[in-house]
């Protein structure tokens, strides 16, 4: 268990804006938190992660997923599942929770749309980067306490809410349809 001790109490953790807390008294279930990297759509957001340590750690990677909702091509906007090679087949035994969280931070800064987890987000990222950035910033603001508000998008969302739709569902539908209210309403009604 010394492995985790070292990682969790490591002094470098604080400076990198990442942290790890225990859920219970054991080290097998942890809650991680990373701050969105500056100069990105996720700037200033606090993203919570669920970390499960397998018995075979560090010979197998920890199971990590986002608890905080996030709009990112490599992270599922529905489940929070992460598509990152080091959490799968590129894991190495010398990696630590610190390196994993830093890698996730780096993933937020540099998305990989060609190897997507969320195809809708990846499509938007590739075809309509401006809308993607606005959406991601809006999601960060709403779900991760990000400091930057997207008033333009909020107005459209307000309209959808006034039509009687649930706020989160409306946000997902609008985000997925490039904030086109008509298409969003259509998909909301058909689903």
């Amino acid at each position: 268990m010394t492995h985790y001790d070292f990682e969790v109490t490591g002094s470098k953790v604080a400076r990198c804006h990442i942290k790890v807390d225990m859920v219970n008294d054991n080290f097998l279930e942890l809650i991680g938190e990373i701050i969105g990297p500056p100069d990105t759509a996720y700037d200033g957001g606090k993203f919570k992660l669920e970390i499960n340590i397998p018995d075979t750690y560090p010979f197998n990677p920890p199971k990590v997923k986002f608890v905080t909702k996030i709009w990112h091509p490599n992270i599922s906007s529905v489940t929070g599942a992460i598509c990152l090679d080091i959490l799968k087949d590129q894991w190495a035994a010398a990696m630590t929770l610190r390196t994993v969280l830093l890698s996730l931070q780096a993933l937020l800064a540099a998305a990989e749309p060609d190897d997507p987890q969320d195809a809708v987000v990846a499509k938007q990222y590739k075809e309509n980067r401006k809308t993607f950035t606005q959406t991601a910033r809006h999601w960060t603001n709403v779900y991760a306490n990000g400091p930057h508000r997207e008033c333009e998008l909020e107005k459209i969302l307000e309209q959808a809410k006034n039509m009687g739709f649930d706020e989160h569902k409306a946000r997902v539908a609008l985000s997925s349809s490039d904030w086109n209210l008509e298409r969003a309403t259509e998909s909301l009604l058909t689903s």
Partner: protein, 425 residues
């Protein structure tokens, strides 16, 4: 030797006889006469180091001259098998058949026949690790055999005509000699390296030889201490433990990767390389830097420098090449590493296996179409080569070309035979 000899009359009472348990009976070397005195003098007292002091069950008295125990006293006190200087000797030594070393060294004494059993008790004490010198010559069968021949047996102290002034006093080597300046033996000069007063002042050759030995020993010690110092704080990148502080002691071993300088303990890196859930390339690469290494070398110390690593690997391969390969099993079975295995591949008669042993006929199998095809033999080593060699890469292209032409010919063949299932392969 004792059998057939007459019983020996010694004047020291047998201590086993006193308790009625002497197994030697009438052949005992000690006296079975209760009037004789037992040897009850504490030999540690005689050396001045009895830790029981007043509570000792043996006598704490010094033997009187002419006492039989006197010889024992001398034997104990001058236990290093060199007899005491002449001035400390009593006259009765000669009468008891003891011959002073001084005379022996001077060549005054001619080798005599082996001593009669009554003198056995006077024999010089044997101390492990030191040369045994009997109080009389000859001291060995070899010596007895060369009786009358000019003996070189005493050359440890130089030539036979050398005087005892050139014999190094054994007491003075470690600590000051109790006889101080009165000692008739030579007191050596102190060696700077080992701190022992062992250098003969007049013998340049001995000095040089000793210094060389000392220096070599010193270098070995330094190397070892450097190695220990280097390994001191080394942390395994996987378990994060300090390797040389791991418990149990068998865990305190490093697994040295041949192509990078990252530190792991042997058990962790072996476990990582044995894991099944990742592909070969991932587990064979260093968990820190992903540089691939073909094998792990166990080491009790941390080795980082290239030359040292090469030396270590060389030693490791050397050691392995002396152990028989359990997969090869003297030719009864096959080793996946073939003739490149680090372990020893020898046939039962001790000869090396011929190259043909490694080129066994190819295995044949039925492919998906039910055709009999040759199956290539797969050797683990070929995969090692593959990533080092670009040539093998080219080979792949050739294979691909071959495959295309094969498919093409099959296609043509299928067309010509007008098979309705021609698209099926």
């Amino acid at each position: 030797m004792a059998e057939g000899n007459p019983p020996v009359e010694s004047k020291i009472l047998c201590r086993y006889f006193v308790h009625g348990v002497c197994k030697n009976g009438s052949y005992c070397r000690f006296s079975h006469d209760k009037n004789d005195k037992a040897d009850n003098i504490c030999k540690f007292y005689l050396r001045g180091c009895c830790s029981y002091a007043d509570r000792c069950r043996y006598e704490h008295t010094k033997p009187k001259p002419n006492d039989v125990n006197r010889q024992k006293f001398e034997k104990n006190v001058y236990g290093l098998s060199v007899p005491p200087p002449q001035s400390y000797k009593t006259e009765n030594n000669e009468s008891n058949g003891m011959v002073s070393l001084k005379k022996v060294l001077k060549g005054d004494v001619t080798p005599s026949t082996p001593k009669s059993p009554e003198n056995w008790v006077n024999a010089a004490e044997f101390i492990p690790g030191q040369r045994y010198i009997s109080s009389t010559v000859p001291s060995s069968y070899a010596n007895a055999a060369t009786k009358g021949v000019e003996t070189k047996d005493l050359t440890i102290y130089g030539d036979t005509d050398i005087n005892y002034n050139s014999v190094l006093c054994p007491y003075s080597i470690n600590k000051p000699c109790p006889y101080g300046d009165d000692c008739e033996y030579i007191h050596g000069e102190k060696c700077d390296l080992c701190g022992l007063a062992i250098l003969l002042p007049d013998d340049k050759l001995q000095q040089q030889q000793h210094k060389q030995e000392c220096l070599a020993q010193h270098e070995r010690d330094m190397e070892l201490s450097f190695a220990i110092a280097n390994s001191k704080d080394k942390q395994c990148g996987i378990c994060m433990d300090i390797v040389i502080e791991k418990q149990p002691k068998s865990e305190q071993r490093f697994g040295i990767l041949s192509d990078c300088t990252h530190c792991f303990c042997l058990s962790c890196i072996r476990k990582w390389r044995a894991s099944k859930q990742f592909d070969n390339k991932t587990i064979r690469s260093c968990p820190e830097c992903r540089i691939q290494s073909d094998f792990v070398t166990p080491s009790s110390h941390w080795v980082e420098k290239k030359e040292e690593k090469l030396k270590l690997i060389e030693g490791y391969k050397d050691a392995l090449s002396k152990k028989p390969c359990k997969y090869f099993d003297e030719g009864r079975s096959e080793c996946p590493f073939n003739n490149r295995c680090f372990y020893q591949h020898l046939l039962p008669d001790g000869s090396k296996p011929p190259p043909s042993m490694y080129n066994k006929p190819r295995r044949r199998r039925h492919n998906a179409d039910g055709e009999l095809t040759d199956q290539e033999r797969i050797f683990l080593w070929d995969f090692f080569e593959e990533r080092q060699d670009l040539e093998s890469f080219l080979l792949f292209e050739y294979l691909e070309d071959d495959l295309t032409s094969l498919l093409l010919s099959l296609h043509i063949g299928a067309d010509s035979s007008d098979d309705s299932d021609s698209n099926y392969w």
